[in-house]
């Protein structure tokens, strides 16, 4: 039982957060698209968090799964609809990956942990923080992939962007494999930091 609980709680959390990045990875080939996906994700996380928080007293315990899924896909669809109308070029650039965000289990995960227990205001703040973290990851991913995978910056549907290198220095970074490697490195770094922090918290004198 103890093992089961442990498996469920902490280790899988890190794994799922990495998994949640996967749809985003397909998009982060340029900064422009990273920005678009980050914005969409940020808004949907906040929206879904607030929704769950508002409904938290009403949601039956057994229906948490379906209801959270419903609410997160609702907010992502909402964002998709609005983005399509307001920023058509960004929505087109993201293509199918914008609605796919709904699957992004990070939303569900966050909802499970925080929004269901807290007031809407706190839930919105939490969503903002989470979204900002993900945006940071995705933007750096987009920056590195565009800079080294293509040798240029700020490519967008409107322009060619800046040319930094004459040719793509590490062209495989523009491909999915490059994104996975990048994110693996980032996840490793984050886990290392987290492990150190935990160790510090347990016994502050030794570290």
């Amino acid at each position: 039982m103890l093992l089961k609980t442990k498996l469920k709680s902490s280790e899988s959390l890190a794994l799922f957060q990495t998994l949640a990045l996967c749809p985003a990875l397909a998009v982060t080939t340029t900064i422009y698209r990273s920005l678009a996906i980050s914005a969409a994700l940020l808004v949907s996380i906040v929206l879904a968090g607030v929704l769950v928080s508002v409904l938290r007293k009403m949601i039956p315990t057994k229906l948490r799964g379906p209801v959270y899924l419903l609410l997160s896909s609702f907010s992502v669809t909402m964002v998709h609809l609005i983005m399509r109308a307001v920023f058509p070029s960004a929505a087109t650039a993201l293509g199918v990956y914008l609605p796919v965000l709904a699957v992004s289990c990070v939303i569900i995960l966050r909802l499970e942990i925080f929004s269901a227990l807290n007031t809407p205001g706190l839930a919105a703040l939490d969503g903002l923080i989470t979204g900002a973290k993900f945006s940071a990851v995705m933007l750096s991913c987009g920056l590195i992939r565009e800079l080294f995978g293509k040798g240029r910056l700020f490519t967008s549907p409107m322009g060619e962007g800046l040319k930094i290198f004459p040719a793509a220095p590490v062209s495989f970074l523009a491909q999915p494999a490059g994104a996975l490697l990048l994110i693996a490195a980032a996840a490793a770094a984050m886990q290392y930091i987290q492990a150190r922090r935990e160790a510090k918290a347990e016994n502050p004198e030794t570290v």
């Binding site: 920005l35 609702f74 920023f87 960004a90 967008s156 409107m158 999915p176």
Partner: protein, 369 residues
């Protein structure tokens, strides 16, 4: 108890024995595994109502946004069509034939050509492409608008080298060389072009239908050059700018296999980047020839900033003429200060465009602007 339940999906013995446990909430049937539970009416009702509410809200939102969304897509498409006809100033949706939107392009009110949107199934997803036809009903250019083929393999279909073999169809054999590693993707493009040719559209018939005059690519070329001769007095903005902005790029962009990125002259090194980007739209294969037009391009949609129409016949004069004709104009143009420092100065407007357009975050990302 609820809080505990968030961490753990199943009830334990401990939970059931605790005083907080409310049997009615879970309503286990006698002898049944409690964790499996039985659906109760209240829960189903809740879910149904919530689903209905969400659907309703989304439906209302959709009603309010769908027109704007369609308009946005249409604008994007029109812009993309216009980019295939560098000198032309207006693109309009003509008709939808067999599910393919057909756009007509005008040069000074005269019909100059048309372009067809086709969607073919690629290896992974649909490949949306745009086939531009000139006044002789021949393919003048092919462009991938969006696709989701594998990066580095299927995405090779965005290379100019691949497209050039379609130019001049249907006079030439419709038997394109497929790209190794991207067989399905390149065949899809080939099929798309074939399908456009099979639609049986006729330039003159369209012109008759719309009741407009026509103009051929060669005539446009002549006209543009004529306008450029007295180019210093900027009588009409529309026509002088394309001449200045696109001419310098012409010879470099379509001179041949510039896919490898070997052209080192003007244009801020535009050649090497084509087609690297997977699902990106409108930016992949046709290089924007030079950054000198960047300021103008942001202003005005109808500005045709990029590659020339590669018509089958007038190509030799097109590629031969520009260097001689453009040089004087460039220097006589008032904004020629932006021309020489290709690498640094004209790039700034470009770099600002991504931020300004993606509105939501424009303020939040100043660092790299």
């Amino acid at each position: 108890m609820k809080e505990k339940d968030f961490r753990e999906n199943r009830l334990t013995e401990e939970d059931i024995n605790s005083p907080e446990f409310d049997p009615e909430e879970f309503a286990p049937a006698p002898g049944q595994n409690i964790a499996a539970g039985v659906p109760n009416m209240k829960n189903s009702l809740f879910l149904v109502i919530l689903c209905a509410a969400c659907a309703l809200i989304l439906a209302v939102t959709n009603v309010f946004t769908v027109f704007a969304a369609e308009k946005g897509i249409k604008d994007l498409r029109r812009e993309a069509v216009l980019n295939l006809f560098p000198d032309c100033d207006r693109a309009e949706l003509y008709d939808t034939v067999e599910g393919c939107p057909v756009y007509v392009v005008y040069y000074k009110g005269k019909l100059a050509g048309y372009a067809v949107y086709v969607t073919e199934d690629g290896y992974i997803g649909p490949i949306e492409m745009l086939v531009a036809m000139d006044s002789d009903n021949k393919v003048s250019q092919v462009k991938i608008v969006s696709h989701s083929e594998s990066e580095g393999l299927g995405s090779k279909i965005c290379k100019n080298k691949f497209f050039e073999q379609f130019v001049g169809m249907p006079d030439e054999e419709i038997d394109a060389d497929l790209i190794s590693g991207a067989t399905v993707s390149s065949r899809a493009v080939e099929n798309g072009v074939k399908r456009v040719l099979d639609l049986g559209l006729d330039f003159l018939a369209i012109a008759e239908d719309l009741d407009v005059e026509t103009i051929s690519a060669a005539e446009i070329e002549d006209d543009v050059q004529k306008e450029n001769k007295p180019g210093s007095d900027t009588t009409s903005d529309d026509t002088t700018r394309p001449a200045v902005t696109t001419r310098p790029g012409d010879d470099t962009v379509f001179g041949g296999d510039n896919v490898g990125g070997s052209n080192s002259n003007a244009g801020g090194g535009d050649a090497s980047a084509n087609g690297v980007d997977g699902t990106t739209v409108y930016e992949t294969e046709t290089e924007k020839p030079d950054e000198t037009s960047a300021e103008d391009r942001t202003d005005e949609i109808t500005d045709p900033p990029e590659t020339p129409a590669v018509t089958a016949e007038p190509q030799p004069p097109v590629t031969a003429a520009p260097p001689s004709t453009t040089a004087p104009e460039e220097s006589s143009k008032p904004d020629d200060s932006t021309v020489p420092p290709d690498t640094s100065a004209p790039e700034e407007p470009d770099s600002s465009t991504p931020d300004s357009d993606s509105g939501e975050n424009s303020g939040g990302w100043p660092g790299w602007g």
